[in-house]
């Protein structure tokens, strides 16, 4: 079981990495399930990912109630995180972003599917949640428990879901894996836009996707994590 202090540092690093690699801009966030209490999760106060420090990380119940706010303003969309942690005991980290190349797939009828082995962890096919279907005209933000649960329901057992006119949400067994999927979701989306303009695409086969997912572990995740840490000016810790 990783220690709380280490998890807090990991969340900070994850935020800095996602900003440095262009997956989040001034918005977007990454959380971790609390290592000592599976019914709580850890998420920064409302601040740009590139700026976050350990003191910004707050603790929330799965309903999005802050435990010790201490005057800090939370992200409005913390319900994305709570909804998924509630529905998915296998998930220990959630990323929400407006990853640029992903947006066009959420607003057209083209399906995002893995075409590169590095991207197989996004899953066999990426679904799309449209807040308008159930909630009508809104500011598109997941701003209460009901919306968070609806998004989690649409996500089902997948690790990625698009959000129409808004962005994407990714979940995974741990923070490093969640960051890895988020970055390669952007890679896949960009490549797929380019390849679609060239003709029919030979995507990965379902069997290939399964084989890559089955093999993805610390050997792969840590190679990228070390590099991304250094690029973002953060120390690399081999094991959490």
């Amino acid at each position: 079981m990783p220690k709380l202090q280490n998890v807090l540092e990991e969340i900070v690093t994850a935020n800095r990495i996602l900003a440095h690699e262009g997956v989040v801009d001034s918005f977007g966030h990454v959380s971790s399930r609390h290592p000592d209490n599976p019914n709580h999760f850890l998420l920064s106060r409302a601040r740009a990912p590139e700026r976050i420090d350990v003191d910004d990380i707050m603790e929330f119940t799965l309903e999005g109630e802050p435990v010790n706010p201490g005057g800090r303003a939370p992200y409005l969309e913390r319900f994305i995180h709570g909804g998924i942690y509630e529905a998915r005991p296998d998930v220990n980290s959630v990323v929400h972003n407006h990853s640029p190349s992903v947006i066009p797939f959420g607003i057209t009828d083209k399906k995002l599917k893995p075409l590169l082995h590095m991207c197989a962890n996004i899953g066999q096919q990426v679904g799309c949640w449209d807040s308008h279907d159930k909630f009508g005209d809104t500011a598109l933000l997941v701003e209460d428990v009901a919306m968070g649960r609806d998004l989690a329901k649409a996500m089902g057992k997948d690790r990625t879901i698009l959000m129409r006119g808004h962005g994407a949400t990714v979940c995974a067994p741990n923070v490093r894996h969640c960051v890895f999927i988020s970055i390669y979701l952007e890679v896949n989306a960009k490549l797929q836009m380019q390849a679609m303009a060239m003709g029919d695409i030979k995507f990965l086969t379902p069997g290939e996707v399964d084989k890559v997912i089955a093999r993805t572990g610390p050997y792969t995740l840590n190679r990228a994590w070390e590099n991304w840490c250094r690029r973002a000016g953060r120390p690399f810790v081999a094991e959490l």
Copy 2:
């Protein structure tokens, strides 16, 4: 009422941010209505936005007359700013730029419309002003009061307008909001070009656009502003 010195610093920061985020290159400018005299506005001398300091900021009448030039050469296109401040009491900041992804929408018949919640503040649809319609062959620059007023008239009550073969102009209630719209106008344009190549786009609904605009305030603007300040090497001031 913000103090003059603070507004001058805010204008410098806005210029540096727009340059750092790729919305202006060596050209383009941002102004603020004078905090103590609504019939004057503040704008840098003719200099690249990335290079501007407080000493470069000049004061102008709404007709574009410099109050204390002190040997400084003004931007030729200061009439863009004066024209809009004259027509729009609700406006306290104007940005003019040649934002790269926006240009193609000004020279084709495709309409720029918001497709991402972050971009709703550009308005329901972005119009286009063609200087040729009224002024014929020119160097395309808004170089006198008549052209500035014609542009302001075409803009109507909107916050953004494209300029054919030239760029775009954005206005807003304050500098931070104006910078925010300018940056997300570029984001929307780039995403729309990509999505158009993929098929029909599901844009934000009119109701969604209104809801996002109604909600946009310091909570949102300052999160981005803090981040952009730090990225551009400028201090962050929470309130003006």
Copy 3:
């Protein structure tokens, strides 16, 4: 008449700027006519533009003969420069590059034309020289006086010309103007590729192009030059 030492520094700065702004990579070069001898020109030894210092600048006759080589290896393609200086007394600076967005226009039948006021200085339309037409299968390099003169002939009175499968050449009355055109040639090409994918383009009118060119002088060139100098880590000299 600018002094030789100032021109040497200007050439170094021009090389650094073109590299920093992405118009040249490890190849490409910029020259100036010799300020004291119009039958000679100044050009770096064979070195990447980002690395060039004053000691690298060599003097050549219009036939490409080095005056004081001092063991330095010249660029093979110095004949581009000599050919143009010989044919064009109005020209005092030449840039040759492989500017990325320009390449596709040299290998398809699409014509590069100005669509943005900043880009009018590229000329009404940009022609294309194909070395294969007269010289057959070569390494595509302009490696002797005959090829340099053929390129200059194809260029005629224009300031820009594409070279099929190779790049582009730009010439102008001075170094700053030549760098300015080179950078905005890349801008125009990139924008035109994007706009062509969207539909018919409303290019600048011939009259607009003429008006912008007539107005382009130190007021415009120096604003960009100051900014590019600082970005490339070079001192800015207001007048040569």
Copy 4:
């Protein structure tokens, strides 16, 4: 014959360059045949290219057996390198990457062909190896001698080959040449995607490709190598 220590430094530099120029991300690798033993090759332990130092370089037999592992974990795909060194005595360096613009050509029926003189060294046309043809559903990795030999066989006498849903492999007579081809393979792929969207492409003629290849030597390679070394923060050594 270059000395071992120099070759180790050259491999480190090659890794850093490929990372800095965007040809590899956290994955991909570059090797050299051992200067003293043609039946061995030198390749980093499993680490991101941007992070590699001399102590990371391991020695392998052509079957991919580490000679002095010293607790270091090797790349799974070292069999790419061994397979090619075994089949190709003319080859002394191999790069494997997931070069972004190259991926779409491996998953569509469009053929990658040289269209710019700088890119002629990729060869007359670039083939594509699909691991699925012979090995069925795998994680797409070249993880044993059989797969490495099959890839080398598909490559034949070429210097570049695409790998469906995976990336590309490049080989050359020396490290600098191999890095050069890898970088200009990415350049060509990006340009070809852009040009294909514009219409029919006039590629280099077969004769032009041959002429450029025949001329490519230290004069050309070192100009780029010096620049790339400095950009990547590595010392430049004129001769190995």
